[in-house]
Symmetry: C2
């Protein structure tokens, strides 16, 4: 679950029908090349982050059909399907497949292959759906996370808490993993923490708060001061502090909810070094905040520091400013310097847009929890990756449809990322494999992809080969970075990108182009097309 | 994977912090009741389908922490957490939990609990996130599927093919399962077929078609007529038919793509009884359709019948009408009666809206494949189910926030579905457990939920208790229907619903109400609230 290699039947039926077609024609072993790419940058943005590669590699390494799988396939393929085809399927694995890819976490652009897959036609066709399934959502949610990070700025802590809103258990695990990769700091998902080593965080829920109705329900009631030996009656101490706080803040003591206070006191007794509050079960400013301050100040008297509070409704920016003001007043009045800096966490349907609004409005928020808008990617719920045949037996292949956007670029390619003199990547240039690589300092003629196809010229300051070989002879052929390393790579990859492409709205399009040779091949195949 | 019970760590960290809080206060065994519900009907519609229950039950039955789980929890909870808490966790299971639910597949409405969960406070709190995760997406996608079914009408076949666009592998499996439940006929997902017994279907892909460039590539070339013994050179036969078809349709023979013809011929030789074509790799009317007709007519000469074609781009309705016209012409000209009825399947980013447009425009489509817009639910990517504490130790609990929509209804409830004289359900009425049940033919006073809270009166023609007890003493306590039975229940449940609530746009809201007693409890708790 979550991390395992996936069953080879996790695929569309037509892959097996086609496989049978290839096999029947003796074509199963023909050398084929596929490319996996998306057609438009997601979220109307200027880039995406590539993710899911490590899962794909695990899937390939384990790619083999069990007897049971074959029995099931027999039951769903036409009854006339030859027995020998099924016998052949039993022998199929990925030992002749090779996969080149951009490193996981890299910034990528539309139309440029993320994965290049080569191998026997039948096998590389069969794995299409699973590869798409493993890359599509992973890359989408990583990209979405990176946009939340850009919107929030580098200093806010971001917590992913979307498990309950994800597409089932594994949807939730993928969301946690790839949100972390894309720039989040924490997840609330414990299993994701265990499986992937992501730091987990959490606060408390309204149900905990509302499960208490009075101070009489608190058990146990005593708390040892930090380093002390004489237990203190903590509920009484909190009540004392509540009176002081209410006087200071001019809040009516009788309107403060005592069930809420009991919940906070109880939590503080359980985790005196990790006390935090959820302050909006009842009225934030007339109950939640006085109660929180009372408990935090009572803890302070015993040598402990509260670690934060969470706000889950209302105008988050405005309330955070009011709360910070209260913290400052308490800090000054009671001479508790750390009090003014207690971290404020918020949640409540936070979106990319609301993050931008928060930033514009000004706020005192330290950590932001994001669920639904992160994991379900409502601005664009799929990346729309496709997996297209580009070469068979050394001959380039092309799909020419009436829909120009659905066209493909023929031939096995090498992709070069060209860097400008300012140190930014400025163009992804696709060339045919047999072409000599472009060189730094030498002028190159290119054809941009898109509306205008006029030839242009560019002289790169540096040239990088975008893809690396990750899978060969049935094995992963280079050491894979850890998730933390991949996350760092994603951040570095984004840091290097020119800010004009990182604008969340109306980014400058990044240039993606083909060489003259590839362009000629494309036009010659198009004219033969139909 | 897909079907297994889920790990108990698939949860948010704060559940464990709160569990520790309850345990520390000796409250772990307090009798608590939670309700799982959503606040608004999804997709601006009038209803939802409840799904995910069977998964929840499997999860509960297996709910137990391993040693390894406990070790991991120790590493993420505050280091001061008492060892005895972890020892306690090792003993926790769901043996004292009971779950009542609407039967899986039932029509449900906002604010009415789908699940009612009772048991020891600590356990029923701990399972919150997992239950939400299992119900939220399942119900959402089932509802989405049912809307596609309503938009398509009862006669079109609907094929789910969203695996590649889902939230990872299990997202894809959940999508296939619950789309079937909600009204789809088939899935393309082979593993979903194997695991859940869903009928699987598929056609062929563009890559298969474009992998052929000429008729010379076809191997083998001979095909036995149905029941015959003399193999026929099938490529030649297809070429002969292509000339005839082109003459009849006045299409230029030299413009028909021969790679496409080779692909169709090859597929026909592999599956002579199951031939189908994908007709838009090149030009539909000048290449795809002539090629498809030629191969289908050649097969017909040998006694076989083509089973269909698929169209994946362009104006689907208009093209289907043109294609049907061609089928009729061929049928008549070549005296092949079945030819005019060859099923036409379409795909290409089909949405609920495009289905409605197809229906309005008129079309000759028999089967519709839906991927992205079904599995990612872009119109509303989450159902937003919540799980709220309603009772502790027999005392009702309420969350009063400044956000009225986020309020909860206190107390353990029984929900009655009231039926009108016309045989439609007309109101879901929530009552406190201790209230006597409403009776058919007797007038009941109710308070509607929503803006107006004026008391109203209703005399139901029939009364149904909505929830059944499914889980007790750690065991599933009634036989669970199969997926096919659940699908039939969903269909029946929808069939019984008044059409005014089934309109996809601007449906009449279904009445959800509370009894006078529950209303009094709510108002009395609200006035104590803060």
């Amino acid at each position: 679950m979550g991390e395992g290699p996936w069953a080879p039947l996790l695929s569309d039926l037509y892959q097996f029908s086609m496989a049978c077609g290839y096999w029947r024609g003796g074509r199963q072993g023909e050398a084929a090349a596929f490319e996996l790419f998306f057609r438009r940058n997601p979220f109307r943005g200027g880039f995406a982050l590539a993710a899911g590669l490590h899962h794909c590699l695990a899937f390939l390494q384990a790619f083999r059909f069990s007897k049971e799988d074959i029995e099931y396939l027999k039951s769903v393929l036409p009854p006339t399907t030859e027995e020998a085809f099924f016998e052949y399927l039993r022998t199929v694995d990925a030992s002749e497949v090779s996969v080149s890819s951009v490193p996981e976490g890299s910034v990528v652009f539309s139309k440029v292959p993320l994965l290049q897959v080569k191998g026997p036609l039948l096998v590389v066709q069969l794995i299409e759906t699973t590869l798409l399934c493993l890359v599509n959502y992973a890359s989408l949610v990583a990209t979405n996370a990176s946009r939340f990070r850009l919107a929030a700025g580098p200093n806010k802590k971001l917590l992913e808490l979307g498990l309950r809103r994800a597409q089932g258990p594994d949807g939730g695990l993928s969301a946690s993993k790839y949100s972390y990769l894309g720039g989040f700091d924490f997840t609330s998902n414990v299993l994701a923490g265990k499986l992937f080593g992501i730091p987990v965080k959490g606060t408390i829920a309204h149900s905990f708060v509302s499960s208490f109705t009075s101070m009489g329900e608190i058990k146990p009631r005593s708390l040892l001061p930090l380093g002390g030996k004489e237990p203190v009656d903590f509920p009484s101490l909190a009540e004392t502090w509540l009176s002081r706080v209410c006087r200071l803040l001019q809040v009516r003591l009788d309107q403060v909810n005592r069930g809420e206070l009991a919940a906070f006191v109880s939590y503080a007794i359980t985790f005196p070094q990790n006390f935090q509050g959820l302050v909006d079960t009842y009225c934030v400013m007339r109950s939640g905040i006085p109660n929180f301050c009372a408990v935090a100040l009572a803890l302070n008297e015993l040598g402990y520091r509260a670690i934060g509070l969470r706000l889950d409704s209302g105008d988050l920016a405005k309330q955070s400013v009011e709360i910070r003001r209260v913290f400052r007043i308490c800090s000054k009045q009671f001479q508790v310097p750390w009090f003014e800096n207690i971290p404020i966490a918020v949640s409540n349907d936070v979106s990319e847009q609301s993050l931008e609004e928060l930033a514009a409005e000004g706020n005192e928020i330290d950590m932001i929890g994001v669920g639904t808008h992160l994991v379900t990617c409502p601005l664009q719920p799929t990346l729309g990756c496709v997996y297209k045949l580009v070469e068979v037996n050394g001959c380039p292949r092309l799909k020419v449809t009436e829909d120009e956007e659905k066209m493909t670029l023929p031939g096995s390619k090498v992709v070069y990322r060209l860097w400008d003199a300012a140190g930014f990547p400025c163009m992804d240039l696709m060339a045919l494999e047999k072409e000599p690589p472009p060189k730094a300092g030498q002028e190159i003629t290119f054809r941009p992809l898109g509306r205008t196809k006029e030839a242009g010229k560019v002289t790169p300051a540096a040239v990088e080969t975008l893809h690396q070989l990750y899978f060969k002879d049935g094995q992963v052929c280079q050491p894979l970075p850890s998730l933390a390393e991949t996350k760092a790579h994603a951040q570095a990859s984004l840091d290097k990108l020119n800010p004009i492409h990182k604008r969340l709205q109306d980014p400058e399009p990044y240039q993606v182009a083909v060489t003259e040779k590839l362009y000629s091949l494309l036009t010659s195949l198009q004219s033969n097309g139909s």
